[in-house]
C-alpha cells in the first residue's frame, strides 16, 4: 500500500473513531501486515475497508492490528480487542493456525467472527459455532475443485505434493476426495522449503500424467519457476493461492496456461464484481486479488446484517448474517448449515493481458459446493 | 629420604616434531622444596601441566601418594591433594579475595552442589578461608576484587588458594614472577614455612630464591633433565654451566 493511501486511511479511521454511535458496530481486524505473508493481510484489509468506505455507513468502526503471523500475538490482540476495545465483531485472520488459536475463545465469549480467509476443518465440523461465519471457503474447497477438474480433464495418474503440516495433509485429502485416478506419487515437503529439485526429479521419474500441488506463498513461486525450467511439460493444477494477483507477477511466464481453481476471478461477470474490480483499481492502483475480494465480501456481509438487525440483539443479528443477503462479487453465495459458504468453484487459466499476468475463467469445477465437514457440525 | 610423595617416571611428550618432554623422571619427597629450573622454552610448563593432569603424557607414568594417577584428570588429581598455582596469574578476576579462597575451600570440601545456603555465611568455610588469607598476609584486602589487587598481592592470593586446598603437595609455577625485591623476599619466607605443610615442586626464574630455598634442584634443558642435586652440586655442575652460560664460555 502506498503512503498516500495509508494517510488517507488513517484519516478515515480517525473520522470513524470520532463519530462512534451508541448502536454502531465495532469491528476488530487482526491480520498480517508485517513480515512474510503481509501481502495477503494487506489485501484483505484494503478490500474490507473499501467496502466500508463505499457503504458510506458511519455506524461502523474498524480497528486494525498486525498479528505478525504469530499465533501468540493474534491471541493477545484478540484479548485486547475484546477486553479493551470492546469490539462486537472480529475478522481478518489469514492463517488457519492463527484462526484456530483465536476463533474458539472469541466465539465462546459471545463475539461474532467473520473469516475472510482461513477455514480449518475443525471449525467447519465438530468445532463449529453459531457465531462463526466463514465468508471465504472451507480449506478443502479449492483442492476439491482441483480434484474435480482433474477427473473431468481425464487425468489418470497424478503426482501430488504439499508441505508437511495440517493444511497440507488436508489439501491432499481434499484433492483425493474428487479425483478418481491413480496416484503416481504423494510427497510431503518441508514447510518453508525453497528448493524443489529433488521433488521435481521424482515427478519426472514417476511416470505421472499430471501434477497437483498446494504450496502457498513463496514456496509455490519457487516450485513453479523450478518446474518450468525442468523441461517437464505435464499439466499442472493447483488452488488459486499460487496464481493469485499478488503473487503471479513474481512467478512470471512459468505460470502461463496453468489451470487453477478459485471461487472468485476478476472476470466473473456480475455488476457487483465489475464495480469492485474497477473501484479497487481506482482506489489502490493495483488489480484486486482473491484475498481483496474476500475482504470486500466480508465487509458487505457485515453491512447487510447491520441493515437488518441491531448488534445488541445477538440472535437477530446472527439470523441476519445467516441470510447472507448481499451481492457477493463471486456471484451466488449462501451459507450451509455450518455457516460455511455454498458456492461454485471455478477453473481459471493464467493468461497475459498486455504485460500483466492474470486469470480468466475457463470452466466450473464444482457447483454449489458446501463442504465435507458440515454433517459433523452440531449447532 | 624415603618418603616420596610425587614422582614421575620417564615422561615423554611431543608436539609434532618438537620433543617437549623426553624421558623425564623426577620425584618430590616429604618436607622438601624441589626446584625445577631451565632456560626459557625448556619445557617446564609442559612438564608441570602433565604432572597436574591438564595434559596427558605420550609415555611414562605419574604417581602421587602411591597411586598411579597417569590416567586421572586434573580435577581428580586436585581432589587427591595436588595443589597447583599458575604461571599466568589466574585467580577469578571478578571475585573478592575471600570469594576466591572460599571457592578453593569449597573444592577441598568436595561438595559444590549446594543450591541454597549462602557460601559466605557458611561459618566453617569462611573461617578456613580466612585462616589461609591471614597466612599470606592479605587479611586487610579480603573484600577487594582480585582484579583490583596489585600484582604481588595477586600472587599471594594464589598461594592462599593453594593453601586452602590443604594439599599433600604443591605445584607452584613462578610464584615470584613480576614481584619487586621486597615482595620476593616476603614470598621466600612464606614458601620456607610452607614446605613443612606439604612438599613443593617449584618452578622459578628468580635464582636467588631458588638457591636460598630449594633442598634439591633439577635442571631441564630441551625437555630433558640434565642434572639433579643440591644447590652446591648444581652450581658446580659442568653441564648446567654449559647450558646456562654456554655462549659466554665459548666467547
Amino acid at each position: 500500500m502506498n503512503k498516500l493511501g495509508k494517510i488517507a486511511l488513517a484519516g478515515v479511521a480517525a473520522l470513524w473513531a470520532g463519530t462512534a454511535l451508541a448502536d454502531g458496530v465495532k469491528v476488530g481486524m487482526i491480520t498480517t501486515l508485517s513480515g512474510g505473508g503481509a501481502g495477503l493481510g494487506i489485501d484483505v484489509r484494503d478490500g474490507f475497508l473499501l467496502a466500508v468506505k463505499q457503504s458510506g455507513n458511519s455506524d461502523i468502526e474498524v480497528v486494525v492490528e498486525d498479528d505478525q503471523r504469530k499465533p501468540e500475538i493474534a491471541v493477545q490482540l484478540a484479548d485486547k480487542m475484546i477486553q479493551s476495545e470492546k469490539v462486537d465483531v472480529l475478522t481478518g485472520i489469514i492463517w488457519s493456525n492463527l484462526a484456530m488459536a483465536v476463533v474458539p475463545s472469541a466465539t465462546a465469549q459471545g463475539k461474532f467472527y467473520l473469516s475472510p480467509n482461513a477455514g480449518p476443518s475443525q471449525l467447519a465440523g465438530e468445532g463449529c459455532h453459531e457465531n462463526y461465519f466463514n465468508v471465504a471457503w472451507q480449506n478443502d474447497n479449492l483442492h476439491e475443485g482441483a480434484g474435480a477438474y482433474a477427473k473431468d480433464a481425464g487425468f489418470k495418474n497424478t503426482f501430488i505434493l504439499a508441505p508437511n503440516y495440517p493444511a497440507g495433509t488436508d489439501a491432499l485429502a481434499g484433492y483425493k476426495r474428487f479425483y478418481e485416478g491413480e496416484l503416481a506419487g504423494e510427497v510431503y515437503t518441508k514447510l518453508g522449503q525453497t528448493d524443489y529439485a529433488a521433488e521435481i526429479a521424482q515427478i519426472r521419474a514417476s511416470g505421472a500424467d499430471s501434477v497437483f500441488f498446494f504450496l502457498p506463498g513463496g514456496m509455490g513461486i519457487s516450485f513453479l519457476k523450478q518446474y518450468s525450467d525442468s523441461g517437464i511439460d505435464l499439466p499442472v493444477v493447483g488452488p488459486a493461492f499460487s496464481f493469485d494477483q499478488g503473487i503471479l507477477q513474481a512467478v512470471g511466464d512459468a505460470a502461463l496456461g496453468i489451470k487453477n481453481t478459485s471461487q472468485w476471478s476478476k472476470d466473473i461477470d456480475n455488476p457487483a464484481n465489475n464495480a469492485f474490480v474497477e473501484s479497487f483499481q481506482a482506489e489502490y492502483g493495483r488489480l484486486p486479488s482473491l484475498y481483496a475480494s474476500q475482504g470486500f465480501d466480508t465487509a458487505n456481509l457485515l453491512l447487510s446484517a447491520m441493515g437488518k438487525a441491531d448488534i445488541d440483539d445477538a440472535d437477530a443479528f446472527r439470523a441476519a448474517l445467516k441470510e447472507a443477503d448481499f451481492d457477493s462479487v463471486r456471484g451466488d453465495f449462501e451459507f450451509g448449515p455450518n455457516n460455511h459458504p455454498i458456492q461454485d468453484i471455478y477453473v481459471r487459466e493464467v493468461i497475459k493481458e498486455g504485460d500483466v499476468l492474470t486469470n480468466k475463467i475457463v470452466g466450473v469445477a464444482l457447483e454449489d459446493r458446501g463442504d465435507a465437514y458440515a454433517e459433523k457440525c452440531k449447532m | 629420604m624415603t618418603d616420596v610423595v610425587l614422582s614421575c617416571t620417564k615422561i615423554s611428550k611431543a608436539f609434532g616434531a618438537l620433543q617437549a618432554s623426553k624421558d623425564v623422571s623426577l620425584d618430590l619427597q616429604a618436607g622438601e622444596i624441589h626446584a625445577l629450573i631451565g632456560p626459557n622454552g625448556a619445557g617446564k610448563s609442559t612438564l608441570i601441566r602433565q604432572i597436574s593432569g591438564a595434559m596427558k603424557p605420550d609415555r611414562g607414568t605419574v604417581h602421587f601418594l602411591g597411586h598411579d594417577v597417569t590416567r586421572l584428570s586434573a580435577i581428580e588429581r586436585a581432589r587427591l591433594g595436588l595443589g597447583r598455582s599458575f604461571q599466568i596469574s589466574s585467580v577469578i578476576p571478578d571475585f573478592t579475595v575471600l570469594q576466591n579462597v572460599a571457592l578453593a575451600v569449597l573444592g577441598d570440601e568436595g561438595n559444590s552442589f549446594h543450591f541454597f545456603r549462602d557460601l559466605l555465611k557458611g561459618r566453617p568455610t569462611v573461617e578456613r578461608a580466612e585462616t589461609c588469607i591471614a597466612r599470606v598476609g592479605l587479611e586487610d584486602r579480603r573484600a577487594v576484587r582480585a582484579a583490583d589487587l596489585a600484582h604481588g598481592e595477586r600472587r599471594r592470593l594464589e598461594i592462599a588458594t593453594a593453601l586452602a586446598l590443604e594439599p599433600r603437595a604443591f605445584l607452584l609455577d613462578e610464584p615470584m614472577a613480576g614481584m619487586g625485591a621486597e615482595g620476593a623476599s616476603e614470598m621466600t619466607r612464606l614458601l620456607d614455612t610452607l614446605r613443612h605443610e606439604a612438599p613443593i615442586l617449584l618452578i622459578e626464574h628468580d635464582m636467588d630464591a631458588v638457591f636460598a630455598l630449594a633442598n634439591r634442584i633439577s635442571v631441564l634443558v630441551y625437555g630433558e633433565i640434565i642434572a639433579t642435586g643440591t644447590s652446591d652440586e648444581i652450581r658446580s655442575n659442568a653441564e648446567v654451566r654449559r647450558a646456562y652460560l654456554g655462549e659466554e664460555e665459548t666467547a
Binding site: S34, G35, G36, A38, G39, I42, N164, T169, E186, V187, Y188, T189, K190, L191, G192, T194, D195, A197, A198, E199, A201, Q202, R204, A205, G217, G218, M219, I221, S222, K225, Q226, D229, S230, G231, G246, I247, Q249, A250, V251, G252, D253, A254 | -
Partner: protein
C-alpha cells in the same frame, strides 16, 4: 528408485550444497578473520536478490542483474561494516548476536518498506533456461549446472586468493594474529572492511543466483542463514575447506534424505504413514547430522583444536 534418478538427486544435492557454500564461505571468512558471528549475513543474501530483481526488471539483462547483486551486497556490506560491525570485533559473541539480530530486523523491514510486501520477479534468462541432456540420458536443468559451475569457480578462486595473493596472506595472518599484522604496517581496519565486503558480495551473488529459481521475498535470507551456520559449524568455523565439505555434506544429506527416507520407511511401514514420518525425519536430518558431528568432533570437521 532408478540409478538415473539417484544420479539426478546427487546432482541436486551438489547444486544445493554449492549454493550453500557461497553463503557459508563469507560467513566462515568473517568469523575466521574477525571473530564475528554475523546473523545479518542472510540479509545481504536478500539484498543481492532484490538488487538483481530490480535491475533485471529495469534493464532486462541477467548479467547486469548479477553485477548489481554483487555490487549492492558489497556496498551494503561496506556500509554496515563501517557503521556497526567494526564496533563489534572486540565484543563477546553475545553482543554480536544481539546487534546482528537487530540488523536483520532493520534490513527486512527496510526492504519491505522500499519494495513492498509482495514477492518480486526474477527469472532465468532464455539462454540458460530449460533442460539439457547429460550422458546416460539424464535430463537436467542447464541453470542448475551453471550454479554448480559458478560455485566451484568461486571456491577455486577463494582457495587461490587465500593461498596465492598478498590479500590472502594478510587474511591468513589476520586469522592468527591481529596485533602482528598491525605491527607490520597493514591497515587492519581496511583489511577487515574488504573481507566483510567480500563475504557480503558472495552472499549477494548467492541470493541473486537462487532468486532466479526461487521466490524473491522479504525474509528469504533467514532459512538459508541457519543452514549456512549449520554448514560452517559442521565444517569447522574459519575453515574454507570445512565450509566446502560441510556445504556438500549438508546439501547431499538434505536432498537424499528427503527422497530416500520416505522410501526407506515405506519398506516396513504403511505407505501414507511412511510419507509423513519420512518427511518429518528428513526435515530434522541436517540438524541431527550437525549434532552428531559436534558430539564426536566438538570443533567441527576441520576446526582448530
Amino acid at each position: 528408485m532408478t540409478i538415473i534418478l539417484l544420479i539426478e538427486q546427487v546432482l541436486n544435492g551438489l547444486q544445493f550444497g554449492v549454493m550453500l557454500f557461497l553463503m557459508a564461505a563469507g560467513l566462515t571468512l568473517v568469523f575466521g578473520v574477525m571473530g564475528l558471528i554475523n546473523l545479518a549475513h542472510g540479509s545481504l543474501y536478500m539484498v543481492g536478490a532484490f538488487a538483481a530483481a530490480a535491475v533485471a526488471g529495469a534493464t532486462g539483462s541477467f548479467l547486469l542483474a548479477m553485477a548489481a547483486a554483487l555490487g549492492a551486497a558489497a556496498i551494503a556490506g561496506v556500509i554496515v561494516e563501517m557503521l556497526v560491525i567494526r564496533r563489534l570485533y572486540d565484543r563477546d559473541h553475545l553482543d554480536q548476536v544481539l546487534a546482528t539480530f537487530a540488523l536483520i530486523l532493520i534490513f527486512s523491514e527496510g526492504t519491505r518498506w522500499i519494495f513492498g510486501s509482495f514477492p518480486l520477479y526474477l527469472n532465468i534468462p532464455p539462454y540458460l533456461s530449460g533442460p539439457i541432456t547429460l550422458p546416460g540420458d539424464i535430463q537436467y536443468p542447464l541453470y542448475r549446472l551453471v550454479i554448480i559451475g559458478v560455485g566451484l569457480l568461486v571456491a577455486a578462486g577463494l582457495f587461490l586468493l587465500i593461498s596465492r595473493t598478498r590479500l590472502g596472506i594478510r587474511i591468513r595472518a589476520g586469522e592468527s594474529d591481529r596485533e602482528m599484522i598491525a605491527a607490520l604496517g597493514v591497515n587492519i581496519s581496511v583489511l577487515y572492511t574488504i573481507v566483510f565486503a567480500l563475504g557480503a558480495a558472495l552472499a549477494g551473488l548467492a541470493g541473486a543466483l537462487v532468486g532466479a529459481i526461487q521466490s524473491v521475498q522479504v525474509g528469504m535470507g533467514e532459512p538459508v542463514l541457519i543452514l549456512a551456520f549449520v554448514v560452517i559449524v559442521i565444517g569447522g568455523i574459519g575453515s574454507i575447506t570445512g565450509a566446502l565439505v560441510g556445504s556438500l555434506l549438508v546439501g547431499l544429506t538434505d536432498t537424499l534424505g528427503r527422497t530416500l527416507l520416505p522410501v526407506l520407511f515405506g519398506t516396513f511401514m504403511e505407505a501414507s504413514a511412511a510419507t509423513t514420518v519420512g518427511a518429518a525425519i528428513a526435515s530434522m536430518l541436517i540438524y541431527i547430522l550437525m549434532a552428531v558431528v559436534l558430539i564426536f568432533r566438538p570443533t567441527g570437521l576441520y576446526g582448530a583444536r
